[in-house]
Structure formats: structure tokens, C-alpha cells
């Protein structure tokens, strides 16, 4: 339903606008003057100062693939992250774990796993959707590269960045 926003009734001083210009200038120039006298506390001066050590636990850096205590990359290539990723940064090619492999019970693994870090918006939806707790946004945030190819994080790189992370999903052991 249309809703009529009531317009405020303006006084003459407000209508001619100039007093408010002056009022505004008073504020901004006040800041300027404080700054010039060195009285303002300015923000952190990156890169000399960093807050890496103060990053909160929920900080969302680059997405990575983590491994469990037995060295198995937790990802089972369910492709839910590929589906949920808003900018479609993730690309997965699923594969089958051969029957003689010691993790054969898991059956499926990502043959290729690529995150396009030019596209990634660090939203964390992949971490949230993952049923295997396999993908985590770690604390790295300075992700740069000199070519597009370097910004495509491939499986190896993602696994290396992820490291080992024991988690609560331990359904692939014998008991299940």
C-alpha cells in the first residue's frame, strides 16, 4: 500500500538553506581545525599497524579447506558450497575414492576444487552450508596475486591454507 511520507514543515530560516550551510560548515571545519591541531585520534595506520593479533574468532578471511586429524581433507565434494556461493566463486569436480584407499568408506572426494578469489566476497556462506565442516574462512585477508591464475586458489593451496582442524563431524569412522 502506498504510504505518504509526511514532509516536515520548514521555517523560513530552514527554507533559505543558508543558515544550515553555515551550521554544517561549523561542524566540518571544527573537525578540520581539531585535526590540524593534532587533537584527533586517527584510525589505524595500515600496513605499519595491523590488528592481526586482535582479530575476533568470527573474523571472515579467505575460505580454505581443512583436514581432519587423520590427514583426510574433510570435503566430500557435495557441492553445496558451489551452489550457495553468491558470486559463484567455487568450482568443484567430484571424484570417487578408489576402493583400496584407506578412506574408501567416504567414497567421494573433490578431484578439483577451485575458489576464484577475485570473485569471492568473503560472505562465509560456504562455511555455513558445509555439512562436513570442511570449508572454513581463516584469518588471512591480504589475498593478492599478479595474475588472474594466481587468484584462483586450487585445491592444494586451499588445503595448505586450511591445515588440520579437528571438528565435531566424525561420522566417517567405523561407528558412524
Amino acid at each position: 500500500m502506498a504510504y505518504q511520507v509526511p514532509r516536515p514543515k520548514l521555517t523560513f530560516a530552514e527554507k533559505i538553506y543558508l543558515p544550515s550551510v553555515i551550521a554544517g560548515l561549523k561542524i566540518t571545519l571544527g573537525h578540520l581545525w581539531r585535526m590540524l591541531r593534532g587533537k584527533t585520534h586517527v584510525c589505524m595506520q595500515y600496513p605499519e599497524e595491523k590488528w592481526d593479533s586482535h582479530l575476533p574468532p568470527h573474523y571472515r578471511g579467505a575460505p580454505t579447506l581443512v583436514s581432519d586429524e587423520f590427514g583426510r581433507t574433510r570435503c566430500v565434494a557435495c557441492q553445496l558450497c558451489e551452489f550457495i556461493c553468491p558470486p559463484r566463486a567455487i568450482r568443484i569436480k567430484p571424484g570417487e575414492i578408489p576402493a583400496e584407499n584407506k578412506f574408501a568408506k567416504v567414497e567421494k572426494f573433490p578431484e578439483e576444487f577451485q575458489i576464484d578469489m577475485i570473485r569471492c566476497i568473503y560472505c562465509g556462506l560456504c562455511e555455513e552450508v558445509c555439512p562436513e565442516q570442511a570449508i572454513f574462512l581463516k584469518k588471512e585477508y591480504a589475498i593478492t596475486g599478479t595474475s588472474r591464475a594466481a587468484m584462483m586458489h586450487q585445491k592444494e593451496k586451499l588445503i595448505e591454507m586450511g591445515g588440520i582442524q579437528p571438528g565435531v563431524v566424525n561420522k566417517w569412522n567405523e561407528k558412524k
Binding site: 585535526m35 590540524l36 586517527v42
Partner: protein
């Protein structure tokens, strides 16, 4: 050979006129473009200081290359290299032409934008004289009209950019800018008519002369070294109104906040230049700031005495003193312009953007009519005084 050298030095010869004009043009262009880059820098620094940030304070000149144990980054010069780095970056960036743009117009639009701004500089008297040479590139009798005519051509750059980009945001920006420029041009033109009524001249050099003799239009009593006459006091009221209207319309004409609707980032991505990159984008940028400088110069020339400052003589004497005082006059002019640019910047970082209907209302209902009434008021006063 000797004849040519002689000609070059003879104030009445054609050759003399050509080389002085070329020198003036090159010098003015150099100064103005340099000023543009540092206005951008000033804009960034001032805005950051107003917002409790530091702004670009790193890029110094590579003075360490000279040896002497110098450091590139110094607290004082820090950031002054930024405009140079920016220019290099803009030149070297990938120049991307999107598919489906109308190529010819797409290419020509940025050039149109900046050409209009630069051409209008030609009639601005940016200094008194050096020796016998007037410090204005083209001393024509219709200075202000010429400026209005040329600067309104600048809208073609914007319109063509918006239309040829074949994309909705630029198109919206272009439409907005057309209607905005047309609306405010009226107020702009009408607001200075009182000045001409009072002075009775349209030649900018002579307008400046009038101010040198009778005090600046806006501050008559303070700058002439004598008490203002009754007619000056009476005329001061329309001049003040005229100044206010002119300045406001100038803000709108240069697309500066609070009138920056054609490129309102929050609504239109980048406005009319959304689809431009690299140097083509930079040309728009340049054009916009050049227009600011032209606008400020015009205000200074019309209301604030141009190169004149009480107590400083002009450079019409011969020999070195002429050159010296001539240069000082030029310095005064650009100092005033720069001060006005800083004022532009203050306003930009203080006021929020108008809504479109407010913009139109202000232009058509307030400024236009005030300017119109002001003309009659002035005419009455002038008639009364005579």
C-alpha cells in the same frame, strides 16, 4: 634574421603577438592542469582532515634517488607525489571499451567535456600586464557571454557520454545533467546582468579595471583605499544577491555537491562516466576540475577584483619591475582562485546532495526569480543614482 628578432621584440608586430599568445596559452594551460591535479589532491586531503582521517600522505617524490641520505617519505612532502602517481596510473590503465557502445560518440565525449572547460579560460584576465602584454589570451568585448556560451557546450560531452555508453546509469546521469545545466544556466546568466548594468561594460579586462579603480564589486569600501560612494553602497545590495545566486548556480553548473546528481554514486554507480576507464575517464575528471577553476576564475574576476590586491601595483611599467609585479599579480589571481577552490571543497564535504525535485525547485522557483527581480532592482538603483 635580425629583422625577425626585431619583430619578435616589437610589441606592434604580428609575430610578437603570436609568440606571446602561444606562451600565455601554454603557461596558463600548464598552470591550470597542474592546479587541477593538486586540487584533486587538496580535495582528498581536506576531506580526510574534515573526516578525522589522514588521506594520501605517503607518495613522496623519489628524492632518495638524488642521494644525500634523503628519504622519499617525509612528513611534510608526504602525499605531494600522489597526483603524479595518479596521472601515471590513469595513463597506464587498461583502456576498456565496452561492447555495444556507439564508438564514435563514446570516444569524442570526453574530449568535448574538457575542451569546453579549457576554451573558456581564454577570456579570463589572469593577470594585469607584463610590460605591454595583457595577461589574457583573448581580450574580447563579450567575455562573460563567451564563457556562458562555451561552457554550456560542455553538457554535450556529458550527454554524449551517457547516451553512447548504451547503459542505463550513464543515461540517467546524462539526462539529469542536461536538465540541471539548462535550468541553472538561466540563473547563472541572469544573475550577472546587474553587474553589467552597474559597470556598463562586457569586456572582462575593463571590468577588472573598473574594480581596480572603484574597489572590488563585493567589497567596494575595503579595497579602493577610499570611502565608498553612495551609489556604491546602494549598488552593493544587488551585487551581494548577484554574488550569492551566481555562486550557487556555479556549483550546479560544475556538478559539485550538493548538486552532483549527474554522477550521484549512491544512485547511479558512476553517473554519466560509469562505462569509462583509464584516460578517457581521467579526461572527464580533468574537465570537471577545469570547469571548477574556470568558474572560480570568473567569480573572482567579476566580484573579487581578479588579480588586484590593495597596495600591489600592476605590471605595466617597463623592464624588470614590470615583469616582477606582473608575476605577483598572476600569483594573487591564482591564490584567490585556490582559496575559492578550497571553499568549493569545504562545501562539498559538508552538504548532503539535493533531492531532484528540490534541485529543480531551487533552480526555477528561487534562483531564477531572485536573479530576475535583482535586475529590476539594480536598474531602479542605477536610474535613481543617475
Amino acid at each position: 634574421m635580425n629583422a625577425i628578432l626585431h619583430d619578435l621584440a616589437d610589441p606592434n608586430s604580428i609575430l610578437f603577438m603570436i609568440w606571446t599568445t602561444l606562451a600565455k596559452s601554454a603557461g596558463l594551460l600548464g598552470v591550470v592542469l597542474g592546479m587541477v591535479s593538486y586540487t584533486v589532491y587538496a580535495e582528498r586531503r581536506v576531506s580526510s582532515l574534515m573526516q578525522d582521517r589522514l588521506g594520501p600522505n605517503r607518495t613522496g617524490f623519489p628524492i632518495s634517488l638524488l642521494g644525500f641520505g634523503l628519504k622519499d617519505w617525509s612528513p611534510i612532502l608526504g602525499g605531494l607525489g600522489q597526483p603524479i602517481a595518479d596521472a601515471v596510473k590513469l595513463l597506464l590503465k587498461e583502456d576498456f571499451t565496452p561492447a555495444y557502445v556507439k564508438k564514435f560518440y563514446y570516444w569524442i565525449a570526453p574530449a568535448l567535456g574538457i575542451a569546453a572547460a579549457i576554451i573558456s579560460l581564454a577570456v579570463i584576465p589572469f593577470g594585469s600586464k607584463i610590460g605591454t602584454v595583457d595577461m589574457v589570451i583573448a581580450n574580447i568585448d563579450i567575455g562573460p557571454l563567451f564563457i556562458f556560451a562555451i561552457s554550456s557546450l560542455g553538457v554535450y560531452g556529458i550527454v554524449l557520454a551517457g547516451w553512447s555508453a548504451n547503459s542505463k546509469y550513464p543515461f540517467l546521469g546524462a539526462i539529469r545533467s542536461t536538465s540541471q545545466l539548462i535550468s541553472y544556466e538561466l540563473a547563472l546568466g541572469l544573475s550577472v546582468v546587474p553587474l553589467f548594468l552597474i559597470i556598463g561594460k562586457l569586456n572582462l579586462v575593463e571590468i577588472v579595471h573598473y574594480q581596480v579603480q572603484n574597489g572590488w564589486m563585493l567589497l567596494p569600501g575595503l579595497t579602493a583605499g577610499k570611502l565608498p560612494t553612495l551609489s556604491q553602497v546602494l549598488c552593493w545590495i544587488p551585487v551581494l544577491i548577484s554574488f550569492l545566486v551566481f555562486t550557487i548556480a556555479m556549483f550546479a553548473e560544475t556538478n559539485r555537491l550538493p548538486f552532483d546528481l549527474p554522477e550521484a554514486e549512491t544512485e547511479l554507480v558512476g553517473g554519466y562516466h560509469t562505462e569509462y576507464s583509464s584516460m578517457k575517464f581521467a579526461l572527464f575528471f580533468l574537465g570537471e576540475y577545469t570547469a571548477m577553476i574556470t568558474g572560480s576564475s570568473l567569480i573572482i574576476t567579476l566580484f573579487l577584483g581578479a588579480w588586484h590586491f590593495p597596495g600591489i601595483p600592476d605590471g605595466s611599467m617597463s623592464g624588470w619591475p614590470g615583469v616582477l609585479w606582473g608575476l605577483v599579480n598572476i600569483g594573487v589571481f591564482f591564490t584567490k582562485v585556490f582559496a575559492f577552490l578550497i571553499f568549493f571543497i569545504f562545501i562539498r564535504w559538508t552538504l548532503p546532495r539535493f533531492r531532484y525535485d528540490q534541485l529543480m525547485k531551487l533552480g526555477w522557483i528561487w534562483l531564477f526569480e531572485i536573479a530576475l527581480v535583482n535586475i529590476f532592482l539594480t536598474a531602479l538603483i542605477v536610474a535613481f543614482v543617475h
